[in-house]
Amino acid sequence: MEESILDFIPEIPVSDAVESFMDWLTGTFAFLFDSIQSFGKFVMEGMTDLLILIPPVLFILIIAAAAFFASGKKFGLAAFAIVGLWFVQNQGLWEDLMNTITLVIISSLISIVIGVPVGIWMAKSKWANTIITPILDLMQTMPAFVYLIPAVAFFGIGMVPGVFASVIFALPPTVRFTNLGIRQVPEELVEASESFGSTGSQKLFKVELPLAKSTIMAGINQTVMLALSMVVIASMIGAPGLGSEVLSALQRAQVGTGFVSGLSLVILAIVMDRLTQKLTK
């Protein structure tokens, strides 16, 4: 092969740079990561234990009742929830289900707490919008496995790094939809609010956020679904739950177990999706 002019340019050591940056980060902030890790672990294990304490029959009934009222006193979703959750219990996956629910709920909550304010900031500041948009693109298109590496570096293995990776993956829709929702508020209503002498926060809380609510909720629904889809990947770094069942089935080539765990995940996904959609209408 002939030599090309490009060969004279030495390789830029990007991967080395990232690695040493990560080393520096883990080393310098070790105390911070450690305390997050132990606090997170405490909260999440506590939540899972609490959920497991609830007798499965009672838990199923509560979900069914919520589904019944949320869907306007219709039986469809409630019936599906009863049959579906009973099936999961019947297959002996109840504890895994509770672990997965904890993972998804905590990841979603963190995403919302971070995502909504960032979305508002982007809607208000052109500058923030320009900077954050490509970061969101990066978060969504970077293969999810890549997040596992820093997650392990910071937090070791277990539920906490699983949540960390899930948040990175699931955060963008909430940010994007919040930004969109606020930008979509009709100009005239913003002007009306300002013309009466509203302060910035009065405008935000009394007009913009209420009018952007349904769009923001659509974003949150997407965030919950993405957090669920990270469950299997997160199990690769030791996050317990239905995902780890799928993973071990894969490693041992057990089609049956894999199918049952996968189906349980699908059931959970459908129940959570419909329930969040209906609750936010």
């Binding site: 209503l189 002007e191 609010s193 300002e194 013309s195 009466f196 002498g197 509203s198 009065q202 009394k206």
Partner: protein, 396 residues
């Protein structure tokens, strides 16, 4: 002191603002500035003042800069240059806090598409202005309910805006603006989205309301008929410039340039011109001095078939017809008192030409224009018709 004074107000959108501003000062037009700099001049060096209690109409087609202009009055749009004084205070130089105070206490705005918050009930919409000022729930509800009561909307207070018709929504918009008891109302095409009959009702309501409330109104419209109907004075804008400022009468009778003239062409003049604008000086005889011979002489000379009769103080006594006069001359009578007819139709000088039609249609004689019994002038049928022709000369 004027309530609102606007001095050399300029708004430039886009880049190269300074260059565009320089060209504004050199009296260049919007098109020239756009070509040279790429910047759009929204409002081009506009000055005017509005008096307390006045209804000041800013009229122009879309793109004329009228909405930009009104939004600079409460600084929803920041002026590029120039000053706005409200009660002598320079709005354009205020910091955010003072500006909020002015917006809360002095200015309210009514919007073309009503600007009602869809997630709030009618009552909650109406109390918005008071709510953000920190009134207690009781106080603000009470005030909002009074405003809704006045607008005849109290029955709908717990409904949401989308449950109301357009006309009712705009009544809410108006009630919401008035709930703060502002001194100045800015109305941006407030009635333009309503259908014509409702629009008329709303104009009437606004005028009635203005009689008791005496606010200062700045009203934006693209409809000249609306401008003429409600405006005390009208400012006509084109390409960001103020091309004429005056009463409706002045604009109709004396358009400043071709642009205004074209605008005015479409106006239904019948709804604007009044009896006193088209009446002519009457040929008359005095009842105590002039007899049938004088009357006959004058009527022959002027080619009249009837003539009005006044007393010394120009009080209308009646009229005489040519046939009666000829008979009286033949009978050698000395006075017209015996042949005087009293059934001359009369109108007030403020009567609109449109209303004159009915009076003059059924009358074989001219119509007298009378104030306090005194004859000011007369109107014959041909005058009404020529007044409606656009190129007619209008008598002041």
């Amino acid at each position: 002191m004027s309530k609102i004074t606007v001095e050399n107000l300029v708004k430039v959108f886009g880049k190269k603002k300074n260059q565009a501003l320089q060209m504004v000062k050199e009296d260049k037009t919007k098109a020239e500035i756009l070509k040279a700099t790429g910047a759009t001049v929204g409002v081009n060096d506009v000055s005017f003042s509005v008096e307390q209690g006045e209804i000041f109409v800013i009229m122009g087609l879309s793109g004329s800069g009228k909405s930009t202009l009104v939004r600079m009055l409460n600084r929803l749009i920041e002026p590029t240059e120039g000053s706005i004084f409200i009660d002598g205070e320079n709005i354009s130089k205020m910091d955010k806090k003072d500006l909020r105070k002015v917006r809360r206490e002095k200015l309210s705005m009514v919007f073309q598409n009503f600007g009602l918050f869809p997630h709030r009930t009618i009552l909650e919409n109406t109390e918005y202005g008071l709510e953000i000022q920190g009134y207690s729930k009781e106080d603000r509800q009470q005030k909002a309910e009074i405003a809704l009561e006045n607008a005849g909307l109290i029955a709908f207070k717990d409904q949401y805006p989308n449950q109301l018709s357009g006309g009712m929504q705009q009544r809410v918009g108006l009630a919401r603006a008035l709930a703060n008891d502002p001194e100045i109302l800015l109305m941006d095409e407030a009635f333009s989205a309503l259908d014509p009959l409702i629009r008329r009702d709303m104009q009437d309501e606004l005028l009635n309301m203005q009689e008791t409330m005496n606010k200062t109104l700045v009203f934006i419209t693209h409809d000249l008929n609306e401008a003429l109907r409600i405006g005390d004075r009208i400012a006509i804008m084109k390409d960001g410039e103020l091309v004429q400022l005056g009463t409706g009468e002045e604009i109709l009778t004396n358009p400043a340039n071709e642009y205004v003239e074209k605008f005015v062409e479409d106006v239904d003049r019948a709804k604007v011109i009044r009896a006193e604008n088209i009446m002519t000086r009457p040929t008359y005889i005095e009842i105590d001095h002039d007899g049938p011979h004088v009357a006959l002489q004058l009527m022959k000379k002027e080619g009249l078939s009837s003539m009005v009769v006044l007393d010394d103080d120009r009080n209308l006594q009646g009229y005489v017809t040519d046939k009666d006069i000829v008979k009286a001359v033949q009978r050698k009578e000395k006075s017209v008192k015996d042949i005087l007819r009293k059934d001359l139709p009369t109108v007030d000088p403020d009567t609109l030409v449109s209303e004159l039609f009915d009076v003059i249609q059924d009358s074989s004689t001219p119509v007298g224009v009378v104030r306090d019994g005194k004859l000011l002038g007369i109107i014959v049928r041909s005058l009404v018709i020529s007044a409606l022709a656009k190129d007619s000369e209008v008598h002041e």
